[in-house]
Each structure stands twice: as C-alpha cells, then as structure tokens.
C-alpha cells in the first residue's frame, strides 16, 4: 500500500505547491509577451525599438510581416503595457543609436536600424537566407545562442 500512497501524496502536494500565485499586472504582461510573441520567432527584446514602433507593430498584428498574428483584445493590452514600459525610449531614455532615426520615421524592424546594418551587412543576410536552419536575419538565435536571454556579445 505504502508504494501506492506515497506517489499519490507527492502528487497532491505538488498540485498544491504548483498552484500559480496571482501575478501582478507587470508580470502578467511580461508572461503574455513571452508566450505569445515567441511562437514564430524569439520574443524580441522591447529595448530594441522605440515606443512608436511597438505601437505600430501591435496596432496591426493581423498584417504582421506577411502573416496574421492577431490576438484577443485583453492579451494585446497586457502585452502593450509591458512592451511600452520597456521600449528603448521608455522613462525618457534616449540611447545614441535612436538619435540617428528621424522622429517622424517609425521603424518596424530591428533589422533595418542603422546600427543593425553596421553589424549585419548584405553578405551576412544573404548567407542567413540561404541556410535553411537560419532562414532569415531576423532569426537572432540561430547565430546568437544567448539571444533568448538578451546576450549577443558571446560569439
């Protein structure tokens, strides 16, 4: 009997412990972003683009770079609040690379930013497209294995 009861007890205990604690709004937004925006590519760090870019991207998810990435309103709102709070120019920040982009321009891609072109030129892009396992220069993780954790300098 002991043999049967013990796993049952353990599983009951696990079920109690694993009950998710109620999450804060910021935490909910982060979780929604990380699960929804990582389905087709890695979840790009919000700090790569300014708020106006994220507004434009999140405002047109049904026409997302040639795909429908639409979400329900509630999830979209959660994601928006997280992304805007962590954008490149959130909290009055003004990084030097952002100053090279005219204020009336709304970049929709990280991979079209001037600093990104400096690091990733035409030859690297062509190579990325030609490799099936990479597919696209937007597939950061294929070359930067730490990209999911925000690390790019390790290779």
């Amino acid at each position: 009997m002991q043999k049967l009861i013990f796993p049952a007890l353990l599983s009951l205990l696990a079920a109690t412990i694993l009950q998710p604690a109620p999450a804060s709004a910021a935490e909910t937004g982060k979780q929604a972003f990380e699960s929804e925006c990582s389905a087709c590519h890695l979840a790009y760090d919000p700090g790569f683009l300014p708020q106006r870019s994220w507004r434009a991207i999140l405002g047109d998810l049904p026409n997302h770079f040639g795909e429908d990435a639409s979400l329900d309103e509630a999830t979209l709102k959660q994601i928006e609040s997280y992304v805007l709070a962590n954008a490149a120019d959130a909290n009055g920040r003004n990084p030097y690379w952002l100053r090279r982009i005219p204020a009336d321009k709304v970049p929709l891609r990280i991979t079209e930013l001037p600093w990104f072109w400096n690091e990733h030129g035409n030859r690297l892009r062509a190579w990325a497209r030609s490799k099936k396992a990479v597919g696209s220069i937007s597939n950061c993780e294929a070359c930067h294995r730490g990209a999911g954790r925000g690390r790019f300098e390790d290779d």
């Binding site: 429908d68 979400l71 099936k132």
Partner: protein, 137 residues
C-alpha cells in the same frame, strides 16, 4: 491502513486522477471535434478531404504562405519550421499527443493561419476534416 488513511484515501485518489487528466488528452480533442460537428451540422468528418486541404496550394491568402504544408511540412509527422526558422513540433497526433487539446489555442491558430493561407476564416467542416486527418495519421 489506519483510520486517518481511510479518510484521506479518496482525496488522494481524486488528486492523482485530476493530475493524470492532461496526460490522457483525448476527451479534450474529442470535445473540440464534436463542437465542430455541431457547427457544421454533420455527423462525421473526412480524413481524406482533410489531407487534400492540408496539402493544397490555396489562393486568396498572403503570397508567402500558399499552403498549410508551407510551415507544417508535406509530412506532418515531421517537425516543421516558421518563416523565421523556428521549429514547429509535428502536427500529427501520433507524434505529438498534446496536439489540438486546448480549444483556445486551436481557435487562435485556425483564425490566424486560415487568414494567412486562404485570406478568410476556415469553415467548421474544413477545420473538422483537418483535425480528423491529423488525428488519424
């Protein structure tokens, strides 16, 4: 077995059963398919039609994604790939038993992928045929 054990035993069994539930995922998938039958007003779906739908090159959608097979590959027992190179786990239930067991997830991706591939929502019959094909592969 002492008396305390007697008293908590039913709770333990229930707890273990509740935890076992997500592993035997069939009831959830059956419920999704039955719901689609009701919507389509039919009593059964066709795996053969689902197969044709999966592999067909459709028109009306976005040029980058002419077919379900574009991302889910021409053999859905294999892993697929998104356009950004991310791996998609196999769609065939025989290879991936957790497929089509979360109604919200299923509805979200039918909406998105049907619009991308066909430029419209799929009908209940198309969805049912598709799920029937992949559940019996």
């Amino acid at each position: 077995m002492n008396r305390t054990m007697h008293r908590i035993m039913p709770a333990l069994v229930l707890g273990a059963l509740a935890l076992g539930q997500p592993l035997s995922a069939d009831p959830a998938r059956d419920a999704i398919i039955n719901q689609l039958k009701a919507e389509a007003g039919v009593s059964s779906f066709s795996a053969e039609r689902g197969k044709q739908f999966f592999h067909a090159r459709h028109s009306g959608g976005k040029p980058q994604t002419p077919s379900c097979a574009t991302c889910h590959t021409s053999d859905p027992r294999n892993s697929g790939q998104t356009r950004v190179g991310k791996v998609i786990e196999p769609m065939a239930v025989s290879r991936n038993p957790s497929r089509f067991t979360d109604p919200k997830k299923v509805a979200k991706w039918f909406r998105r992928n049907c619009r991308s591939v066909l430029g419209r929502e799929c009908s209940a019959r198309e969805k049912g045929d598709f799920l029937t094909y992949l559940s019996n592969l």
